[in-house]
């Protein structure tokens, strides 16, 4: 067996609020192997967003351990976390989160800027990924010239640009209609088919049905973890 991409042991997170200590996550254990396709589900307040923020190295846990691609990242400093977000992870957000002032190509190339890649290589790599998501002809356009579904494709291209170990998608279809959602999910399916590990957060069962494994959160704990019964081929 190879080293899992993600191994989480007893991961917990609590916040100090006006009403006292609030525990958002209560000692979660999870392992994700390379090439897995996981949907994280649960109602709002179940701790799934907190969990995703921890997986995404945007936040640090109060307790527990987190190994990402073999590296224990639970207690790393800000700069190391930034490096992981840049090289090891790819984010896809509900609101697309493209920079409105710069072209699609430059949006896709942005992580490469922080990785210290030179301009020519950045351009070539960004162009390659825009072609991959089928938007190569809009490379020089600004984000507001294309539709929401297309913007999300650009965001996925941006997530892939540094060849990360896994893609984290937080409600990637939340702002899209059902038809466009299906298209985006097909893109995720394709990427997973190429061997890319995908973790997505959703509360829609038919979106989650695309994943091969479903993890359900409730009150800061994992309450179920099973393979999807009728996984789409």
């Amino acid at each position: 067996m190879t080293e899992p991409v993600i191994r989480v042991a007893g991961l917990g997170k609590s916040y100090a609020t006006a009403a006292g200590l609030f525990t958002a996550l209560k000692g979660v254990n999870l392992e994700v192997r390379e090439g897995e396709y996981i949907a994280i589900m649960g109602p709002s307040g179940s701790g799934k967003s907190t969990f995703m923020n921890l997986l995404g190295c945007l936040d640090t846990p109060t307790c527990g351990e987190y190994w990402l691609a073999g590296e224990n990242v639970a207690h790393l400093d800000n700069d190391s976390l930034a490096r992981l977000r840049n090289r090891t992870l790819g984010f896809v957000f509900q609101g697309f989160n493209l920079l409105s002032r710069v072209s699609l190509q430059d949006n896709v190339a942005l992580p490469l800027v922080y990785a210290g890649v030179d301009k020519e290589a950045r351009r070539a790599r960004a162009r390659l990924l825009l072609d991959k998501v089928g938007l190569g002809r809009y490379a020089e356009s600004l984000p507001n010239r294309i539709s929401g579904g297309q913007q999300q494709r650009v965001a996925i291209a941006r997530a892939l640009v540094n060849a990360p170990h896994l893609i984290l998608a937080d409600e990637p279809t939340g702002n899209l209609d059902s038809h466009t959602s299906e298209e985006i999910m097909r893109l995720f399916n394709e990427l997973n088919g190429e061997g890319i590990t995908v973790i997505l957060v959703t509360h829609e069962p038919d979106i989650a049905a695309h994943a091969k494994r479903q993890v359900r959160f409730l009150d800061g704990e994992i309450v179920s973890d099973h393979l999807t019964e009728h996984a789409p081929c």
């Binding site: 945007l58 700069d79 930034a82 840049n86 989160n97 002032r101 922080y114 301009k119």
Partner: protein
């Protein structure tokens, strides 16, 4: 990466042109004001220094003591206490470069059908040395002329113009009072002195001639004034003390008796004048730099607004791998770029106005490279200083909060 960041800073400025322009305006005015004030201040300093250098350096004068007749005191220079012998003895002292006895007064000059009233100075050749005055046409008179009291004269530029017009005065004979004098040379132009008097409106003749033919003196061999030039500025005090001691000894003044002469330091007056203009220009610069400060605060203000507006963008950048240092650098570069562009425009504006002032009013302005350098250093400092806080605020944002920001 720096290049990419500079490009982004440029884009960010371009996205809000009016705002960037207005923010820069503060710096433009600040730097412009500093440049103008420095140019004018240094110009004034330069003008004063020019005037001082025409007077001669390290000078002091000795005036004879006052004379009391029937209860009326004559004031300095009235009594017959200084002699040509005193001047010669002072000249022998260590630390004295030149010592020239002088006797001066206003007299009417006549040449042909022209006449002109001017100041006549009777003195020795050492006077020209002390005043660093050279003869541009003809030649100076020598010590032998003083000894034999010849009737020769050196005339200033203003006298030459008024009395001789376009004629060459050298070799011509003019009259002072009733005595004929041969003009042997024309003095180089010196312009105004610190009091605004035309230094070129003067005639210099040998001391002995002046005393015998022009002014007359009841006490032969006595002089009203001796001009002394010390060898160095540092030695001034010492030389003045030496001269005082020498004169007291020569005048047989006992301990406790007051001096029968007055010593005045001319260079000190000039120095204090120079000091005044220097203080003035520093003051002007300080006031101008307050507007620079205001410009800097404008930059800080707009950068704070910008950070708030772009909170979400900062969140996105952090999520895809920007380190805190990257975010800090990005906003710092933007602030520096704003302040730098403002500085460049201000420099151009300031130089333009300074040159305009010079062209219109004829006021002396001095534009130095160091002033421009200072302005640039200040701009960079202002950019970093006032850009730092907003940039740090941006860099310290929590990525999760920033991403959630609407």
């Amino acid at each position: 990466m720096l290049k990419a960041m500079l490009g982004e800073a440029w884009l960010a400025m371009g996205a809000n042109r009016l705002r960037a322009a207005l923010t820069m305006l503060g710096m433009v005015i600040g730097v412009g004001a500093v440049v103008i004030m420095l140019a004018i201040g240094q110009g004034a300093q330069y003008a004063v220094q020019q005037t001082i250098s025409t007077m001669g350096s390290n000078l002091f004068i000795i005036l004879s003591g006052s004379l009391t007749a029937g209860g009326v005191r004559s004031g300095a220079g009235g009594g017959p206490t200084l002699t040509v012998g005193d001047a010669n003895a002072i000249d022998e002292l260590d630390g004295v470069a030149n010592a020239a006895a002088t006797h001066q007064g206003g007299r009417q000059l006549v040449y042909g059908s022209q006449n002109w009233s001017t100041q006549v100075i009777g003195t020795t050749p050492a006077y020209l040395g002390a005043r660093a005055w050279n003869v541009v046409n003809g030649a100076a008179f020598g010590d032998s002329d003083v000894r034999s009291a010849t009737r020769v004269a050196l005339i200033g530029k203003t006298v030459a113009e008024n009395l001789f017009g376009s004629e060459d005065p050298v070799g011509k004979t003019m009259r002072i009072q009733q005595s004929p004098f041969v003009v042997v040379g024309v003095l180089g132009p010196k312009g105004q002195n610190l009091d605004g008097r035309d230094q070129d409106d003067t005639v210099i003749i040998p001391l002995s001639t002046a005393q015998r033919q022009v002014f007359g003196t009841p006490f032969l061999g006595s002089v009203r004034m001796i001009m002394v030039q010390a060898e160095s500025a540092e030695g001034m005090e010492r030389t003045m003390a030496d001269v005082t001691a020498l004169l007291r000894q020569r005048h047989r003044l006992r301990e406790g008796m007051p001096d029968d002469f007055f010593i005045r330091n001319l260079s000190a007056a000039a120095e204090s004048e120079a000091e005044t203009t220097r203080t003035m220009s520093i003051l002007l610069g300080a006031i101008a730099s307050i507007s620079l400060l205001v410009g800097g605060i404008g930059i800080m203000n707009i950068m704070l607004v910008s950070v708030t507006e772009r909170t979400r963008e900062i969140g996105i950048r952090m999520a895809i791998g920007a380190r805190q240092a990257d975010i800090l650098m990005q906003f710092l570069l933007e602030a520096i770029m704003l302040s730098f562009a403002g500085c460049l425009l201000g420099l151009v504006l300031g130089l333009g106005i300074a040159l305009g002032i010079n062209a219109v009013t004829g006021m002396v302005v001095v534009i130095s490279g160091s002033a421009a350098l200072v302005a640039f250093a200040v701009a960079a400092t202002v950019g970093i200083f006032f850009g730092w806080y907003p940039a740090r605020k941006a860099a310290r944002l929590d990525p999760i909060e920033a991403l959630r920001y609407q």
